[in-house]
């Protein structure tokens, strides 16, 4: 069963949310997910770009009330 770790990075500016995501990815198993909440619009664009570059998978991006929720699946 896929495990999901949640990171509330609201209030942090770029590249803070990205760094918190990466630290969390280091701790989980391949196939598990991290859900990051970010109020920083730049990070909402930056995170999918980083995911594509290094080879993980985006599980989805959702715009919520004042923040974005991004799900990243660890692929390697």
């Amino acid at each position: 069963m896929t495990q999901r770790t949640k990171i509330d990075a609201r209030g942090a500016f770029c590249p803070g949310p990205l760094m918190e995501l990466i630290a969390a990815l280091k701790l989980i198993e391949i196939g598990d997910e991290v859900e990051v909440w970010s109020s920083d619009k730049g990070s909402a664009n930056e995170i999918p770009e980083w995911v594509a570059k290094v080879g993980h998978e985006m599980g989805g991006t959702e715009e919520c009330d004042g923040y974005w929720s991004l799900v990243v699946k660890k692929a390697k």
């Binding site: 500016f13 990466i22 630290a23 980083w50």
Partner: protein, 132 residues
């Protein structure tokens, strides 16, 4: 295979440039690029151990905005780049000599050690240099 190493030459003590160096270094390092940061000239003073952020970071208007909005701390970004990616930091031997400092004057656990220009330029031939 093309070499994607990144070399950052940081000479400025201005907060804005130190912050930019930290952001470039940390994001590149976690994006699977080997990064080397060479700190020289006035930038060395920014890395003095024991300073609080108000003393460490001095700049122009954007510096004030970053402090007000609590932008990520540059020293923490460098440390995260080292922990999460391939980032190595060196301090210029000439700058240390001119300041009468040794490594004990610098923030602990950030620098691999001193380096001279000859070695830095030799290694940087392999990749891309960014100067701040």
């Amino acid at each position: 295979m093309e070499n994607n190493s990144l070399f950052i030459l940081l000479c400025s003590c201005e907060h804005e440039k130190v912050q930019m160096a930290a952001m470039i270094a940390s994001v590149a390092a976690v994006s699977e690029r080997p990064v080397t940061v060479f700190v020289s000239m006035g930038a060395v003073s920014v890395f003095e151990n024991g300073l609080d952020p108000a003393e460490r970071y001095r700049g122009q208007a954007f510096s004030n905005i970053m402090k007000e909005k609590k932008a990520p701390d540059a020293m923490e970004l460098f440390a995260q780049g080292k922990m999460l990616g391939d980032l190595k930091m060196y301090v210029c031997s000439m700058a240390l000599d001119v300041m009468g400092w040794d490594e004990s004057n610098l923030i602990a656990d950030l620098f691999e050690g001193p380096m001279g220009l000859t070695r830095f330029l030799d290694e940087a031939e392999k990749g891309q240099i960014v100067t701040l």
